[in-house]
Subunit: 472 residues, 2 copies
């Protein structure tokens, strides 16, 4: 009887089965993007077709080896790297990278799991369409990973999460069967919604090999504004006003706290951050218009006039050019790097009903200040979706590494307890992975957890797909 | 030991347990809206709270009686009436009819399952918001039923199906546990998407008792246009052009075939159908504008000018007033009644990728003509979503009842085989119920069916929730 490695080589070709024994450096597959976890795989297998994925799953299942599906390996919750047993097989989907079809009249494209997100944005644009999923890792993350983690990003306020952009899937089950669920139907009520069950299941219920995704017409113009607001309450009021004035034109609504912008100003002085010094929060708004830039500008002017009158905007600039717009977005996107320059901090990816965010922040800011005097809050995120990256930085002059080591567990508990009290989620867009799997029983409805366990047991009874992720 | 009826009376109060033995007429609960099925219930139970639903489920499960959840009982696929065993309990949710909360800043409302759809539309409007789910039965259907069947309707092209409007659920499981999954989060990646699993499961996996639904700003103006097009290809081209010109302003795109409009003209002469006599298809477009009526009108003018130039619109009218707009919509909504006046026909609720609809109709029209010479097609529906009500009427002078009796099975097979060949769905928005449960194994991917059976077995192992629906 041949070994599993031999079988895998027979299925995908020897060149696509990587092992350490053959002298390969597997670290790119074995450690997560933030380098918090370092595993040890039996092998990295790179199938080149859906049928090969199916055969790999059958071989691993028969041999009793669990699998870790992996796309661009850019996840933030340690969901796509192997454990340190040396027994798991990393199933890399990156060779499945074909755009199978673009159907302009149906506003869909069918793509394989390993396609890079940015490539899909560009492919859509070349065909005259918008594929609106957009997030920091877009240059290296894959659509399969985006779907497996239900990725969010900066245009969710208009276009929804990855889930909302997906019309159909092709999935290899834990039994190695292939569910052919592709197809660009916007209405299909012939049974349970398997698509949304696999989306966001982080590779624990099946392996997504292809998807049919929605396309949109390219907007005629995209305009960006930067507004200083006197409070978080004002930012929420501005969001409501923006919804009314811009309708579905509102494609981005990001909030940035003064301390977060101060870090960008300090560590990236070349970026010239506007309006931050005298205001507690700034907001970045994007208006995508199907008509013209002039129309988008007029809409922004009306919105901002109205907001000034209401006292919810203190000052504002509207980008005069696409280049200026990119600069404003670049400031927003530089916050993660600026905080890293300041030193390690404790990161959170939380969501709260938008209406409760001001009270949540006021209470939680004060609570953390009481518990850890001098602590600094890098608060920013997708306010349009109620999603904050509410990050906690060591007090000035404190040692970031010591702070992280000594305070992370305590701060997480303080913040997550508050999130729970405010009806929020401890993982808005990053998922659970291994990093938060032990937290779920503390904060998730027990009936929901029971249902999730029943489903996992039903679909993957031998726990061979990404074990220990989502459900610890 | 008390009987089940006694236990149910103890739970919900004697006044809310209706039985035939007590002299009640149960026909309103025992037969479906189209009066195709007449069942016989042990009792109709009307719980007044989620806790009562939970207790009813436990009592019925313990006694081995299956349950049929029911809302407004307006479904079209025989999914909410009992079988004729006299053993099933109808669980009517209509007493759960409270709006629990409206959160304007979060753009959500939390409502109980028994709320009438139209009441929710009006409640939202009074609070200054749009709740966009809209369909023919809105005056009597309930939001719980809308969610259980993932209802569609006339604004799906912009706002999606019931599924897309739902952010959270409260559900009583087959074990009588209550999943507290309410809350208005737009991002929550803490585990499997249970919400979308229950939405569209037709009461076979759990009983939806409440939901948090999305609200939208009220549009500043809604404008309606009626365009005659030279072909179905032209209608599809017009849809693409409308997406580009109107963006998310395009909130309705309905197509109506000449024969369908001719029936309205014949049976409802007072309605004055425009442009139908000389054109094979007409299209109804709605533009919802966040700015003004003048702006919406200019947009429509630009769209129609461009469409005339391209030769994809032959003639068009834009409603001059809200009253005119209502009249145009009324014509569209009168097609079902007009075809009933003409006599019983064979109804289909199908979806096809929009791009393939012209070829599907050309082929299927010709096929049916070959098979049943003189057959007449009442073709109309939500072209924006690829959803057609492709109904087949007896040849002129034929007897409709005889036609239905003799041809229904054969016509269904002809049409469904074609739908399948074109990558479509045999139930776009109406669901499966009992009516199509036997068809699923013929047209649904067998792996998908296997996954559905595994999930049903995992969540409702004793098959006490709406047995025989969806999965025969």
């Amino acid at each position: 009887m041949s070994t599993l490695i031999d079988q895998l080589r027979a299925i995908v070709g020897a060149a696509h089965v990587l092992t350490r024994d053959d002298g390969n450096d597997l670290s790119a597959w074995e450690q997560d993007w933030r380098k918090r976890a370092h595993g040890h795989a039996l092998a990295v297998v790179r199938p080149g077709s859906t049928d090969e994925v199916s055969a790999v799953v059958r071989a691993c299942a028969a041999a009793g080896h669990s699998m870790v599906p992996q796309g661009g390996n850019t996840g933030l919750v340690v969901g796509s790297v192997p454990d340190d047993s040396g027994h798991q097989v990393v199933l890399s989907l990156t060779r499945l990278n074909q755009v199978r079809a673009i159907d302009g009249a149906n506003l869909t494209m069918t793509v394989e799991a390993g396609c890079i997100l940015q490539t899909l944005q560009e492919t859509a644009q070349k065909a005259g369409f918008l594929f609106p999923l957009s997030l920091a890792a877009e240059g290296s993350c894959t659509i399969g990973g985006n779907l497996a983690t239900n990725a969010g990003g900066t245009q969710v306020v208009r276009y929804g999460n990855a889930r909302d952009l997906c019309l159909g899937l092709e999935v290899v089950t834990a039994q190695g069967e292939v569910w052919q669920g592709l197809g660009g139907l916007r209405k299909d009520n012939t049974g349970y919604d398997l698509r949304d069950l696999f989306v966001g299941s982080e590779g624990t219920l099946g392996i997504i090999t292809a998807a049919t995704m929605k396309l949109y017409p390219l907007p005629a113009a995209q305009l960006t504004a930067w507004a200083a607001v006197p409070s978080l309450e004002a930012a929420v009021a501005l969001l409501g006003l923006a919804h009314r004035h811009l309708g579905a034109g509102l494609t981005g609504f990001e909030v940035m706290g003064q301390f977060a912008l101060g870090l960008v100003d300090r560590h990236m002085p070349q970026l010239r951050v506007p309006l931050w010094a005298d205001h507690p929060y700034c907001v970045l708004l994007e208006n995508s218009d199907s008509e013209s830039e002039a129309h988008a500008r007029t809409q922004f002017e009306h919105l901002l006039e109205s907001a000034f009158e209401d006292g919810i905007v203190s000052d504002a600039v509207v980008a005069e050019s696409l280049q200026q717009a990119h600069q404003l977005w670049h400031i927003r996107e530089s916050i993660p790097l600026a905080q890293a320059e300041e030193g390690l901090n404790i990161k959170h990816d939380i969501s709260i009903p938008v209406s409760r965010i001001p009270a949540f922040c006021a209470e939680t800011d004060a609570l953390l200040q009481r518990e850890i005097p001098g602590v600094r809050l890098v608060n920013f995120g997708h306010l349009g979706d109620g999603n904050l990256h509410y990050n906690v930085q060591a007090p000035a002059h404190g040692d970031p590494a010591t702070f992280l080591r000594e305070q992370e567990a305590r701060v997480n508990t303080l913040v997550f307890d508050q999130v729970h009290r405010f009806g929020g989620s401890i993982s808005a867009e990053h998922g659970v992975g291994s990093l938060k799997a032990d937290k779920l029983p503390l904060y998730k409805d027990p009936v929901a957890l029971g249902l999730m366990r029943s489903i996992k047991q039903a679909l993957d009874p031998h726990n061979i797909l990404n074990p220990g992720r989502v459900l610890a």
